[in-house]
Amino acid sequence: MNLQSSRPSWGRKAIHGLVLLLAVTLTTSAFAGIFDEGDAANGETVFNANCAACHSITNEVVAAPGLGGISERWGASDELLVKWIQNPQGAAESGDPYIANLVETYVGVYGWMSAQAVSEAEIKDIMAYIKAGPAEGPADGGDVAACPTYDELQASDDNDSAAIWFLILLVLFVIIAISSTNIQRSVKNAHRESEGLEPLPNVSYGEAVRAWAWKNIVFVSIIGLFVTAYVVTVAYQEAMDVGVYEAYEPEQPIKFYHSIHVCENEVDCQYCHSSASKSKHAGIPSTNVCMNCHKGIKKGSRWGEKEIDKIYAAIGFDRTSGQYIEDYEQQPVMWNKVHNLPDHVFFSHQQHVTVGNLECQNCHGDVATFKGGRIAPVEEVAAYADANPGAGIIKLTKPTLTMGWCIECHNKAKVNVVTSDNGYYQEVHDRLKEGRGYEEMLRYMEDEKITVKDLGGWECSKCHY
């Protein structure tokens, strides 16, 4: 929706009139007012933290009107601007005609903005940042340059194509080689015929190969040995990979990109996977969670309206009117499950996220670089750990989502029993302080740390019941 054109022209006139009025009546310093006093650098930080989810500093509509040019069009007092941000409904009650117009124009479409906990000084910083306008580079802020581009992500799809071409070439080569021997023989025979010699006997390929192999037996044996060793090794490795689904990334019904949401837009993991801290399941966000943003963001940067329309089709939302369709028969989105644990494995996100305070990246890797859901191979997670030494990632070696991987981590992960402020672990510690408990504690401390394993993390019924 183009907001520029839909804005009533008398509003623009009013702004100009007001600006003129202000210019006449106010001193220069007062006129500089709220849009000029602040620190734009700090404003950027505050804006990104509080406002960027819905507003852009250009005219682009994110989930609410863009704020580009606000310093020119704001038609009410500075105090009201502060109030409009800190308490929108309160500001509306002031009766100011400009505010009344804003309410009439936008609230119906975007809803009320919630009251923002920003100070007046911070608002000044924000306004300075908006007035300064976008810096060189992408308009929507954030460290977009570091995010994988569409082409990079696409390229990862094409990894296999080279191998396929290679295979086709190989087959062609073999066919040509075989037919060329035929041609060779025909040519030779034709030559011999012309010379009046007997044609060469028609030996089968097998016989020819065997004859050749006997002639070069040493060479063939050595090659054969290598081939056998290679096949055994490959077979063994393949067998070890049965049930290992590293880098598994199934096609999804919606081309959802983690990279756009997590990397470019910096949405917190638990905004969508909100039950990770409350339940054993991290949860796939329900469609209404998508709509929190996509009610406003109607066009994606990669696929335009096509993919977002699938959300609307699921929940019943009319993109033109911006309204939910009444009595719509909603259809859930049938995602393909990525992290498939066998039925006999119990895993609780809550335990790891809430109690263990693990970062999501510990198991899921650098999701910010992923397209859809994907099982992060353990090497990638280790590389991420190396690149981000402060992130507290435990480096592992066994393939992701195998039992070896689980227990490797349980053996490495420390549990803070001694100085924990968690009453549960204090009780665990108390029971380790004397007598038999102390002996146990000494045994735990043989590797100079109390690990999850020491507290039962390697026991079958921790995960299997």
Partner: protein
């Protein structure tokens, strides 16, 4: 005391029959007789050759290998709009109330992702702390019963609500006489809805109960002028005399009386109740009685009269054939605790009840153990009105009949007459959720929603209203019966609004319920309402306007003394799991071994050994022995059922349970109600009709003065000369001849050594072995140097006894009544498969928790000494199969031994010990050698012989085979595959969840915060669960009590489960 009694589970064990001995030697017994197996016709159909077999195998292997390499694509479907209160993976609990006209319980419904999966008691706000029984606990599965109607039915065809509403409305508008026939209405708002309907159509309302207690109401009307069933309080009763009332399992609100009774059965308390039971068939209550006396059904009134005479001193108090001493003892005990005594009778004969009222009156029970000011809103059925209704129907005087919550075509004693009348009713409607016996004969079926899908209010007694709230939206196109009634009555309101209106100012209530009050009431499951408007039915009876009889005790006494019986009498009783038959299609109920007989999936005739031997019937029912079929003829009706030898059955009587023979005309009431063949298909008779489990004996009830009495005083029993297999679990999982599992004593002996240190009282001496070291420091090594078995270690000690958690359980044999609620709760919580009768016969029942029922003869060492018998003669006497044995119920599950014999023999370390004291079973590691089960001294390990989830054989019994019913499975517990062992895990899923809660709350695990399913369901608080390393925990304290002991202590496996010795309140010489 441990060696002075002989315990046995069944006659086979007592007599050491050949089959029993064979079973003893063989942990996994031969599957069946070879000739029987070879007689199987299906065997001949198999013609797979060896080469074919190899081909198939090769193909399967390749296919399996390929399939394993393929990434399975699993769909993961989130909500479109997630309800705020649901977090996937986190259970929600909803308080509600169960009432089916028979049982009443305050429940807490556990839902996962919106599906009810478990029902437990509403501990904080429920009646008797939410005491339930196995029927209520198992009711969750009825919600997912695929035999439920999917929508309204008109003339046997699926119809729409609009069509049915219109058709019924036209039928009703032209009807002159409209009758609503319902079970006792305990809901104020349902009554309002019925009244609204009755007003519009000038309808009569008749209430009747399948198992009638109208005799009690009538007796109270005669004695006190008001027809009602009072409230009983067993917790105050120091002496209880029950004449045929199974008040722990079936009589009135048995599930609420059980915890009251349980409170009085702890010898540590100020006093312990003394319980006399006079009855015919061994009931659950009878097994718990201190003194049990066998009587004929015809003598119930006479016993009551004799007790009255003895208590009031007005007569000799003798009854032919009933021990005079027992009557005298009972009367003396009653008199000694005047004001805290209680006499109850099971008979529906008002004369008997009138005499019982008189006894209670002279004992001062009214006001203490009986409260007539709080009449029950249940059991208001009027048998006379029902009889009149059937008469009217047969006379064509009823144009429209609405049947709500009852099934008279099955449960009315004169069902044929009812059916005959029903055929003459022009517009007949049933609200039944299934096309049951009555509904199938009605013109319209307007299926009511399940109680877990409904709103309602219920009032057990005045002053308190319990709420029913839906835990799931209706699965099918069903409509709550009340809403249907309102619609037909022309009330433009949905039932929820109508319900709310009962509790606001516009309806005359003394308390206003605002939204927040209402929400609090819904949250808690109840509210206190000063007045509950359960009105009397608008119009009840008019035809038989006899002048009500005034109280005339001597007339009643004379009347009961005139009741005579033939040489064989029939007592009709109810089983703990099946009750009145409403749950006949519930596989959990069918598979739950009857607490007394331990028979599953069947109905049978209980008989005394002497009678059976006289008739030449087979008295043993071990695996290879079939029961003999007998034909029972009573009042012109006959049934053929297998005979079961029941110790404690009065010779000259038989007993048959109600609740069987459902769906006798092939009505679709659920698959589990019908017998299955060995291959899992339903059995069919010669006409191709399904064969119900058991036979219906409602028609054998005797009408006495207009009141159906569940007995028949003159029956004949005739051997058929045919055999029938019964599936009884009593011979399964024996202790291989080790019988020191039970410890018991008498109250006197207990009190004499009450303060002795644990392990030193004569009735609970610790087991010690002689050692070659000077343990008592007397300077020499001799026979008096002993060490407790606890001090012998074959293995390295686990550190668990001091460090971290050590989960443990205590089970009080004194308060356990053996009701089986824990077994059902365990069954549902842990996805334990239901295996069906055929598999139970092969000892393959899967119950993780079983209740061993031991009989012991009433002959003791002490008595032998007194009678001057030598030890050998005394033992011989003790082995005499007592006709009326004493009983011990002992819940037995994995004992989580700290020195577990199973762990050391597992070749793949699939069963290991956790550092929290749990014996862990890792299914995915198990390869099924079954060594562990062989080595388990308690025989608590179960082997998955089949893929119960998928194998065709279980399609008619196992709920997990049905795509709808499997929704009841607990998603936190693995469904086990074929070929693995399983056993009690001490609900490790709940332990893990409880620990996580504690970690999140930053606090140690609070005692009682984690409950296993069995401990949670135990209404008598016999089972406690907790952390034995928590010094303040309940289990720690109980484990140090001097009554507590380890089962099979002498083998030194050091279990984490403690039992507390049973104490009987009997005089030693009387025993």
């Amino acid at each position: 005391m441990d060696n002075s009694k002989n315990y046995w589970t069944g006659l086979d064990e007592l007599d050491k029959t050949e089959a029993y001995q064979e079973g003893l030697e063989n942990e996994f017994p031969a599957q069946q007789k070879v000739d029987e197996f070879l007689a199987d016709d299906r065997l001949k159909e198999t013609n797979t050759g060896r080469r074919d077999f190899l081909k198939f195998m090769g193909f399967s292997l390749a296919a399996a290998t390929l399939a394993a390499c393929e990434t399975p694509v699993v769909k993961s479907v989130p909500y479109v709009v997630k309800p705020e209160e649901i977090t996937p993976g986190v259970p929600n609990y909803y308080a509600s109330t169960y009432y089916d006209g028979h049982d009443y319980g305050s429940v807490m419904v556990k839902t996962r992702e919106g599906r009810p999966i478990f029902i437990k008691g509403n501990k904080y706000h429920g009646h008797q702390a939410g005491a339930l029984n196995a029927r209520i606990t198992g009711s969750v599965i009825d919600l997912y019963d695929s035999s439920r109607l999917k929508g309204p039915v008109a003339a046997g065809q699926a119809a729409t609500w609009d069509a049915v509403d219109a058709a019924v409305a036209s039928g009703l508008s032209s009807a002159r006489n409209v009758v609503v026939l319902s079970a006792s209405v305990a809901s104020p708002t349902t009554q309002r809805a019925i009244n609204a309907f009755a007003t519009k159509y000038n309808a009569k309302h008749v209430q009747y109960d399948a198992v009638s207690y109208s005799g009690i109401s009538e007796a109270n009307r005669r004695s006190f002028g008001s027809a009602m069933v009072p409230t009983y309080d067993f917790s105050k009763a120091k002496t209880i005399v029950s004449i045929g009332a199974d008040f722990l399992a079936n009589w009135l609100n048995s599930n609420l009386y059980a915890p009251q009774y349980g409170m009085t059965r702890r010898p540590e308390g100020e006093w312990m109740s003394r319980h006399f039971q006079f009855e015919t068939t061994m009931s659950l209550t009878g097994t718990n009685a201190d003194t049990r006396v066998m009587i004929n059904p015809s003598d119930e009134g006479k016993v009551a009269a004799a007790l009255y005479e003895l208590v009031s001193g007005s007569g000799s108090g003798k009854v032919d054939g009933v021990s005079e001493m027992a009557l005298q003892n009972a009367a003396n005990a009653l008199k000694a605790t005047k004001g805290a005594s209680l006499v109850v009778a099971g008979s529906n004969n008002p004369d008997v009840q009138e005499i019982v009222n008189a006894i209670n009156q002279s004992l001062g029970s009214y006001g203490s153990t009986i409260d007539t000011s709080k009449p029950l809103n249940m059991f208001k059925g009027d048998d006379k009105a029902m009889t009149q209704l059937v008469r009217d129907m047969k006379g064509g005087q009823v144009d429209a009949l609405i049947v709500y919550g009852v099934n008279p075509s099955y449960s009315w004693y004169a069902a044929e007459e009812f059916n005959e009348g029903l055929a003459k009713v022009k517009t007949s409607v049933s609200f039944s959720g299934k096309a049951d016996e009555t509904a199938a004969r009605c013109g319209f079926i307007c299926p009511d929603s399940h109680y877990l899908e409904s709103w309602n209010d219920l009032s057990l007694t005045e002053g308190r209203v319990d709420l029913v709230q839906p835990a799931i939206t209706p699965l099918f196109d069903t409509r709550q019966a009340q809403e249907t009634l309102l619609k037909w009555a022309g009330v433009e309101s949905d039932y929820y609004t109508f319900l709310r209106s009962t509790y606001n100012a516009s309806y005359d209530m003394s308390m206003m319920y605002t939204d927040s009050d209402w929400n609090a009431a819904v949250h808690n499951g109840y509210m206190m309402a000063a007045a509950t408007p359960v009105a009397e039915a608008t119009v009840v009876e008019d035809a038989s306007a006899e002048a009500p009889a005034a109280s005339n005790l001597s007339a009643a006494i004379n009347a009961v003394k005139k009741i005579s019986g033939g040489s064989m009498q029939l007592a009709i009783y109810q089983k703990t799991a099946i009750g009145n038959g409403a749950h006949a299609s519930n596989p959990y109920a069918q598979e739950l071994p009857d607490p007394v007989t331990k028979v599953t999936w069947d109905n049978y005739v209980t008989m005394a050994r002497s009678d059976m031997e006289a008739m030449g019937l087979n008295i043993y029912i071990a695996q290879l022995d079939h029961a003999s079929l007998v034909k029972v003829t009573a009042g012109g009706r006959e049934v053929v059922l297998p005979a079961y030898m029941q110790p404690g059955q009065k010779p000259g009587t038989i007993g048959i349970a109600l609740g069987y023979g459902r769906g006798a005309n092939g009505e679709n009431i659920g698959r589990a109600a019908f017998q299955t063949a060995e291959n899992g298909d339903h059995l069919t008779d010669e006409n191709g009709a399904l064969v119900p489990v058991g036979k219906n004996v409602f028609p054998m009830a005797t009408m006495m003065g207009g009141y159906p009495v569940l007995a028949n005083m003159d029956v004949s029993v005739e051997a058929m000369g045919e055999e029938y297999p019964l599936a009884s679990t009593q011979m399964h999982h024996t202790y291989m001849g080790r019988e020191s599992v039970v410890k018991e004593t008498t109250l006197g002996a207990f009190l004499a050594e009450k303060d002795k240190k644990k392990g030193y009282a004569s009735w609970n001496r610790m087991h010690a072995l002689n050692v070659h070291e000077d343990t008592n420091n007397d300077g020499e090594i001799n026979a008096s140097d002993k060490k407790s078995t606890r001090e012998f270690d074959l293995w390295h000690d686990h550190a668990v006894e001091n460090v971290g958690h050590r989960w443990g359980m205590t089970i009080d044999l004194s308060s356990c009544i053996g009701c089986g609620d824990c077994v059902t709760a365990c069954h549902i919580e842990n996805n334990v498969p239901v295996v069906g009768k055929d598999e139970v016969r092969r000892h393959r029942d899967m119950h993780w928790l079983r209740i061993d029922r031991f009989y012991s003869s009433d002959y003791t060492m002490e008595r032998g000494e007194e009678e001057g018998l030598g030890a050998i003669s005394t033992y011989r006497k003790m082995e005499d199969p007592a006709e009326n044995p004493q009983t011990v119920h002992m819940p037995m599950m994995c004992q989580h031994c700290n020195h577990a014999p199973c762990e050391t023999v597992c070749p793949v370390a699939a069963t290991t010990h956790s550092n929290e004291g749990l014996n862990q079973m890792t299914y995915n590691r198990c390869i099924g050698t079954r060594y562990c089960a062989n080595n388990c001294p308690y025989k608590v390990r179960r082997f998955n012989w089949f893929n119960y989830m998928g194998y065709d054989k279980f399609k008619n019994v196992n709920p997990a085979q049905d795509m709808l019913t499997r929704m009841v499975l607990n998603p936190d517990v693995t469904v086990r595959a074929r070929g693995v062992m399983e056993k009690c895990s001490m609900c490790v899923q709940r332990i893990q969840a409880g620990k996580l809660e504690a970690k999140k709350a930053s606090a140690p695990v609070q005692d009682g915060a984690i409950q296993t399913a069995c401990a949670e369901s135990c209404s008598v608080n016999a089972i406690h669960f907790g952390d034995l390393n928590d010094q303040g925990s309940n289990v720690k304290k109980i484990s140090e009590n001097n009554r507590s002991y380890h089962a099979l202590e002498e083998i030194g496996v050091q279990p984490n489960i403690y039992y507390m010795a049973k104490v009987r309140n009997i005089e030693d010489q009387e025993a």
